[in-house]
Each structure stands twice: as C-alpha cells, then as structure tokens.
C-alpha cells in the first residue's frame, strides 16, 4: 500500500511536469507579445528590449522552463537592481499584468472557486444520490420514471439557460436573493451562503441529474450482486442490506466520478463563474488568457492539473477502504 502510494505520487509529479511543459510550448508560440502589451502605447524598441529582459523573455525556451521549475522548489529572484523581486517558495512567478505573485493570486481566488465547488457538490450529492437510490429501489415504478425523465431533462438543459432563469426568477421577480457577489465565509457566513446559493443551484442541478442517473444504475447493479442476494436471502432487513452492502458497492463508481468532477471544478468553473461574475480561479484564468499573462495561465493550469491528479489518487486510495473487492 505504501509502495503503491509512493509510486503513484511519483507519477503525479511526472504528470504535472508534463502539463507545465505542454503549457509552456503552447504559449511559446503565442503570437501576442506580453512585453509589447506591458510596454503600452508609446513604446520604443529600446524600452521593449529592456522589458523583455526584465520578464526573462530573452532567454531560450528550455532555460525559461528550467528556471520556472526550479523556482517552485527554491524560489527565485526576478529582475535585477533596485526593483528585483524575490519570489518565495512555491514560486510560480509574478503576473505580467499586476506584478502580484502568481501563488498569492491563486490563493486569493481559491476560496471563491472552492466555495462554489464544495457547496455545489454537497447539493448535487444530496439531490443526485437520493434521487438515484430511490429510483433504483423503486425500479420501473412511476416514481422511477418521473425521476429519470426529470434527470435526463435537467442534464440536457444548457447551464446558461438554467442560470439566467434562476437569476430572473429568484432575483429579478421574487427578489429573494442578492445578485451573486462573493462574500468571504469568514466575514459573514450567512451572506456567503445567500450570495452563492444561485451559482450552487445552477451547477448542482446539472450534476445532480447526472449523478441520479449514474447512481440509479450502479445501485441496481449492486443489488443484483450475488452476495447481496445472499444477504437478503439470509433474511437481513432490507434497510441494512441497502445501506450496508448495496450503497457501499454501488457508490464506488460514483466515487471515481466525484473525484474527477470535484478535482476539475476546484480549479475554477469557468462558465459558472463567468455567468455569475464570481472572481474565482476560472475568471482569473480567463482574464489572464485575454491579456497574455503567461505566468498566471501556467499557474492556473498547474493548479487545475494538481487537483485532478490528486483527486484521482485520493479516489483510488479510498477504494481500498470503501469497496471490499478492491485490494491494492
């Protein structure tokens, strides 16, 4: 188990280096020049060269990549002279746009994206799993039909549409909620929740529908497993069988799914953040992309990839705990 974990961790680092390398390559061919953008309106060739040197853009690609990688572990000094910036571990560089450390920017925005993802995840798990399990246990009844038709419908609704309808219904007409604006949890938990409720709903509706469908089929499959049939034949109460055995087996595929979804969402739900104007990592990324702020772009992709691979790793390790059939 320990050996396995170590091997997986090594693989995680390999994946992250690969992601960084690919991102580097993509933006090396970027036609727009971040130095020129920073140089502004009346930019002389001399000034441009100085800015390029300051940004380290005059170095060869492999050198820039190596400086970046080693900077994560050792920190690095950017620029020189009076204005040199000491970038501390873990150093992901400084934003070209606003000279903030990329790590600080990410950590500023992470609470927004995490609040959005975790809140929505709680909602969608609650809604999706209960709908799925109920439908599975009442297979082929009217309840099952209604739930599943609803789920297919909800999963097919474009999130833009759901979001705008929620805004229109709950904010404009009913006036129940404020226009979403992020309020830190620490400032005011009640306003944090009321401001995020709409984005949570919009995101959760979509995922809940998919989880309902998935959990229904895995539950049905699990309940048909021989050992569960045995348990029921032995006369164990239905409730015990469903909760102790059925759910446990049936939820393993859901776990995989959940790991990937949450991992992806933590690093920014680009569209939901864009629709509701939430200043999360997705917005940070989108803004950085349009202004060619390469250090920030790189930082976000690395963070996103980290969440995904770590979530996958966590899921695989959790299997050993949850699924009796799995031995690592």
């Amino acid at each position: 188990m320990i050996l396995y974990t170590l091997r997986r961790l090594a693989a995680v680092i390999g994946v992250l280096i690969a992601v960084a390398a690919v991102t580097f390559l993509i933006f090396y061919v970027l036609p727009s020049d971040p130095a020129a953008a920073a140089c502004g309106k009346s930019c002389s060739a001399e000034r441009l060269a100085a800015i390029r040197a300051h940004m380290g853009l005059d170095q060869p690609l492999w050198r820039q990549f190596w400086d970046f990688l080693s900077g994560i572990f050792t920190g690095r000094t950017l620029g020189s002279g009076h204005y040199a910036l000491r970038c501390h571990v873990p150093c992901l560089g400084y934003s070209y746009e606003n000279s903030e450390a990329v790590w600080d920017l990410l950590m500023n925005r992470l609470p927004v994206s995490a609040s959005l993802a975790l809140g929505a995840a709680v909602l969608w798990l609650a809604l999706g799993l209960s709908a799925g399990v109920v439908a599975a246990l009442r297979k082929d009844t009217l309840t099952d039909r209604v739930l599943m038709v609803g789920a297919v419908g909800a999963a097919s609704l474009p999130v833009y549409f759901t979001s705008m309808m929620l805004i229109y219904g709950l904010i404009r007409v009913a006036g129940l909620l404020p226009y979403p604006a992020y309020v830190p949890f620490g400032d005011d938990p009640a306003r944090w929740a009321s401001n995020l409720l709409l984005p949570w709903l919009a995101l959760a509706l979509l995922y809940a529908a998919m989880y309902a469908r998935q959990s229904r089929s895995s539950m049905i499959e699990a309940m048909a497993e021989p050992y569960i049939r045995t348990a029921r034949a032995k006369g164990l109460p239905r409730r015990t069988v469903v909760v102790k055995h059925g759910l446990r087996t049936g939820m393993t595929p859901i776990l995989t799914l959940f790991g990937m979804d949450l991992g992806g969402l933590l690093a920014g739900a680009v569209i939901t953040e864009s629709i509701f104007g939430l200043p999360g990592i997705g917005q940070l990324f989108y803004g950085a992309l349009s202004s060619g702020d390469q250090p920030v772009i790189l930082g976000v992709t690395l963070l996103a990839a980290t969440f995904i691979v770590v979530a996958n790793l966590a899921v695989d390790l959790l299997y050993a705990v949850v699924d009796p059939r799995v031995r690592l």
Partner: protein, 579 residues
C-alpha cells in the same frame, strides 16, 4: 472598449477651453426627434450636494490597469487615482460641464511660472500637504516619481516627461541611482523643470499622475502598483487584485490645502470582476445597498433599451460626451488602400447608422462627418462630403469599378474586443460592395501594441483620437502627420498617411500667430484631408452612467472622458449605505 478609451483617449491635456458640452450639446443630437433623453443632465450634477460619511460602492467588471502614478495613463483611472489617492502639481477644477476643463493649482501654489521663453518652468509647493503617515510631501518626491516614469520596469505611464524634459534621452529611471539634472529642487518646496524646447502648455502636462509625489523609501518598483502611498484624501485599506479595493480616509489629508477634493464618503469600496450586464441591471433596479453604488464603466449598448424606456432610471443617467472621434483607419501605404479611389469607396460604403446602433444608438453616440470633434469646429461638424449616414453602396461600387476592383477584395480589420459589435456592422456594410472583411478582436490590453506594429498589423483598424485641448494642433498632426509614424508602438496615425501637401500645410498653420486664423485653417485642412480619405470618421461616443438613487454630487467630468468626478461624488443619506 475599456482601455481603448483609456490609452488612446488618455492624452487629456485639456486647457481652460474645454470641449465638453460645448460641442455635442443636446441640440446637436443625431436623432432628429428633438431632445435626446440621455442628455437631461448635460453639464449638471445629479442629486444635489452630498452629506459627509457613509460608504460609496463602485461596481466594476475589471481591475484598474495601474494605480501606480508613474504608470497610470488611462483616463478613468487617472480620474480615480488623482481625485482620491494622490495629488498632482496642477489638476482640473471639480465642476460639471465646460468648467471641468479649467486648470487649478493642486500641490503647487499656482499654475507654474515660465521663463527662458517657456523653456524653464518653476512650481512652488503648498505648505502642510502630508502623506498618509504624516510626513510632508516634498519637491524631491515629485522629481523622484517623474524619474520613475522612465524606468523600463514601470511601463504604461504618460511620456510627456520623456518628450519635453532636457537631457532625458537614454535615461532609465532612478533604480540604479542615476537622476535627471533637468529637474532641480533648490529646496523642499520648489521644483524647476528645464525643457528641451519651448512648451507654453506645460502646466497642462502636470495634471498627469506622473507629476504626483512618491517618496523614495516607499518605492517598491513594480509592486508599488498594488499599494500606492497616499497623498490624497483616501488611503488603501486593502487591495485584492481583480476582486476588491477598499479605501478609507487619510487622516493626514488637510482639506484646507485642497480646493478641489470634497471627500464626502468615509469609505470607498470597489467591487471588481462583476458581470457587466449584471452591473447595468443592478444600477437600473437600484435596490437596497445598490442605491449607494455607482458603476465604474459605461452602460453596455445592450442595456440601452432598459434605461431609455425607464423614466425613473433616466433621472439617474449621465451621458457626457467623450469628445473623441472613432475612425476606421486604412493603411494608405499598402495595396489596395494606397489607391485613393478604393479608400473613397470605403468612405461611401460604410453604414454609420448601423455602427451607431451597434454602439447603443443615437442617444449615446453622435455620428461624425469630419475628423475633428464638434468642439474644434465651434460646436458643429461640417458635412463636406454629404454622404448619407446609411452609406451610398451604389456610388461605392462605382468607385471600386473605377479603381479596377469591380468585384471587391478581401481584407482584415483589428478592433478592441469591446468593439466587436461595431466591427460586425462595418463588416456587413462593406460586404455589400464586395469588400470581405475578417474581424480580428484583440484584448484591450494588447490592442495598442497590436495596431502599433506597423509591419504586422491588419490593413484596417478601428480606433479613436481625442484632442488634448480645443485646437486642431492637438488633433490633425497627431493623426495625419507622416513624420510621427513609428515602426513599433505607432500611435495616432494608423492610416500611415504620408501626404506631403498635408504635412507642408500643417507646418504653415503651426507657424501662424493669429489663433483665429489658425483655427479656421485647421478646419479647412480637416475637410481637405477628408477628401483624400485616409480614414473614415464614424462617431463620437458618450459615456453613459446610471448612478444609484442615494448618490449625490455626480456628474461626468469632461476632462476625463465623461467619467464620474470622484472628487465630489458622495451620498445623499450616508446612513443608508452598507458599511
């Protein structure tokens, strides 16, 4: 538009003769249906005089480009920075309408005194002006910030210092211990600037944030942008880039030294990263805490319908003219636009009406029939070509045939991403005569770098120009003098227009001593250039803002492109604002 307003229109050396309302008043509105409903508050403040206290909220979709005074050269950010956070030698009077263009001393005791034929300028500083830590503002600090603006590590700021100061060639800022000899500080409260050539309007340049003080020991280089040190009525309590900026009172700011800033609210909170259309919706709805809020950016064209059809919202609407002419500029140096007939075809083909609609309609824009905005024509632009506002495609096709391009041709246009709607209207009207246009949208932050690269840019660009003050000398030479063209970082003359007679005429007018005659000559030259069609003037925008119901003292400052004057805005009832 965003920074496009910004950078291009940043050059705002307006003199006493402000353009503002003078040019594009309601009577000149395009709609022809009588009064433009958007102009009810032209030249006036909304909401009466504010009461002291409370929190003013600013709703924004974006972060500031640069609050560092050495780097701040974007019109609305200059307004914000110089009205709230730092003071400059000279500034604009805080008043609605044309009065907003008047210069008044700020840190200085007067508007500066010149000697040596306007090549030497001397300013004396007021007593008792202090930073947020209580230390006094000194002449050395202003000199230091002017020097900072030369640093390659701190790009983005205005280049007036670089253009006019003597001995500034090759100077790279104070970071390596070198200083400029052409700025002298004989004592803590005296500044002497030595210029390389006479510049009678030098006080106009000293309204730039470049001429704000930065103490050397507070200078953190590029990171100063995130925490400028205050000499104004407010200081930064917290600044999370892209998310939120909170300003609180600077206890060491002394209103007795400051005739301009009123500093009514106790706090200002700028909420960033919001969805633009949700800002518009919130401002129109005006509910709860939003009544004490103002929008940072102008109303989206998409929201025009909601405001214009809502009498209550219209009462809270400001729409000052930006006084900048939007133009389609054609690369006159390359085929097919090196042919004047082809350029005239474009002139006749363009449907300005459709572009105007895409821009929010006649309530928020005035169509343009000349290059210089109306203020430079004494209030009304001439219409020398008499092209219908919807274009004349038949004539355009005839011109194309004459030019040997009966089937049109394919070309490309670069626009800032906020101008996509306008670009589509251009695309469609040119398509009607067979000119197939591909649209390149560029983020505002990269827009000027992209079109300023004369070798790699597209043949067409859509951009604007603002006169610095009401003289043709601040418009036509900047836009049409071929001698100012730079290979990279080119500005203004995006038509790459190198016309000898035009340049000769410009020199002649510049040498005229009679201002009236010179003015008439500029106006005539405008029409002469228009006939050669290096660019098509399209429209002059307004800067529509819907402010909250609890807002008072709000007007569009004509010197800052119609942005709200942050020197005077405040709340009617401070107790109603959210703390």
């Amino acid at each position: 538009m965003n920074k496009r307003t910004s950078t291009a229109f940043a050059v705002s050396l307006a003199t006493a003769l402000a353009l503002g309302a003078a040019g594009c008043s309601g009577t000149n509105s395009a709609d022809g249906r009588g009064r433009n409903p958007a102009l009810a508050h032209q030249g006036a403040a909304i909401g009466g005089t504010p009461k002291r206290g409370g929190t003013l909220t600013v709703l924004s979709n974006q972060d500031f480009d640069h609050l560092d005074p050495a780097r701040n050269w974007v019109m609305n950010t200059m307004d914000f920075g110089t009205r709230l956070l730092y003071r400059t030698l000279v500034t604009y009077q805080a008043a609605p309408g044309t009065k907003g263009g008047r210069l008044v001393p700020d840190l200085a005791t007067d508007l500066g005194t010149s000697s040596n034929g306007a090549k030497t300028w001397t300013f004396h500083l007021k007593k008792g002006v202090r930073y947020e830590d209580g230390t006094p503002v000194t002449a050395q600090d202003i000199k230091y910030n002017v020097e900072r603006s030369f640093s390659p590590d701190l790009p983005g700021g205005s280049d007036y210092a670089a253009r006019y100061l003597a001995g500034a060639d090759g100077y790279k800022g104070p970071a390596d211990g070198k200083h400029l000899d052409s700025i002298k500080t004989p004592d803590d409260r005296t500044l002497v600037f030595e210029l390389r050539k006479p510049f009678a309007e030098f006080p106009n340049a000293t309204v730039m944030p470049t001429f704000a003080p930065v103490p050397q020991k507070r200078d953190t280089g590029p990171r100063y942008d995130n925490r400028p040190f205050s000499s104004g009525p407010y200081k930064i309590a917290s600044y999370e880039r892209g998310t939120r900026l909170v300003l609180v009172r600077n206890p060491h700011w002394d209103p007795r030294t400051d005739a301009v800033r009123k500093a009514y609210p106790d706090r200002l909170v700028v909420v960033m990263g919001l969805k633009p259309n949700q800002i518009d919706d919130r401002m129109i709805a005006d509910q709860g805490a939003d009544a004490s809020a103002v929008p940072w950016y102008a109303l989206r064209p998409e929201s025009a319908a909601k405001v214009l059809s809502n009498a209550e919202a219209r009462r809270r609407l400001l729409a000052e003219s930006m006084n900048c002419t939007d133009m389609v500029q054609m690369d006159t140096g390359r085929a097919p636009f090196d042919n004047v007939t082809v350029r005239q075809a474009v002139q006749y083909a363009l449907d300005k009406d459709a572009i105007l609609t895409a821009s929010g309609g006649p309530a928020f824009n005035d169509p343009s029939t000349a290059y210089m905005p109306a203020a430079l024509f004494g209030g009304r632009q001439p219409d020398t070509l008499k092209i219908p506002a919807t274009g004349a495609p038949a004539k355009a096709r005839r011109l194309l045939k004459e030019a040997g391009k009966p089937d049109g041709f394919a070309t490309e246009i670069t626009v800032s991403s906020g101008d996509k709607g306008r670009a589509e209207a251009i695309q469609e009207s040119l398509a009607k005569v067979g000119i197939k246009v591909t649209i390149n949208t560029v983020d505002p932050s990269a827009f000027y770098a992209t079109i300023g690269d004369t070798k790699n840019r597209t043949p067409l660009v859509y951009t604007g120009w603002c006169p610095d003050y009401a003289s043709g000398s601040t418009f036509l030479p900047f836009v049409f003098d071929g001698r100012y063209i730079k290979e990279k970082g080119n500005t203004g003359n995006h038509s790459l227009f190198r016309d000898r007679p035009t340049m000769r005429r410009m020199d002649e007018i510049a040498a005229m001593t009679d201002a009236r005659r010179a003015n008439e000559a500029w106006q005539r030259l405008d029409g002469e250039i228009l006939a050669k069609a290096p660019a098509v003037p399209v429209l002059v925008r307004r800067w529509p803002l819907v402010v909250g119901g609890n807002i008072a003292g709000a007007y569009g400052q004509t010197s800052y492109g119609g942005q709200l004057d942050y020197a005077t805005v405040g709340l009617k009832d401070p107790s109603k604002s959210q703390s």
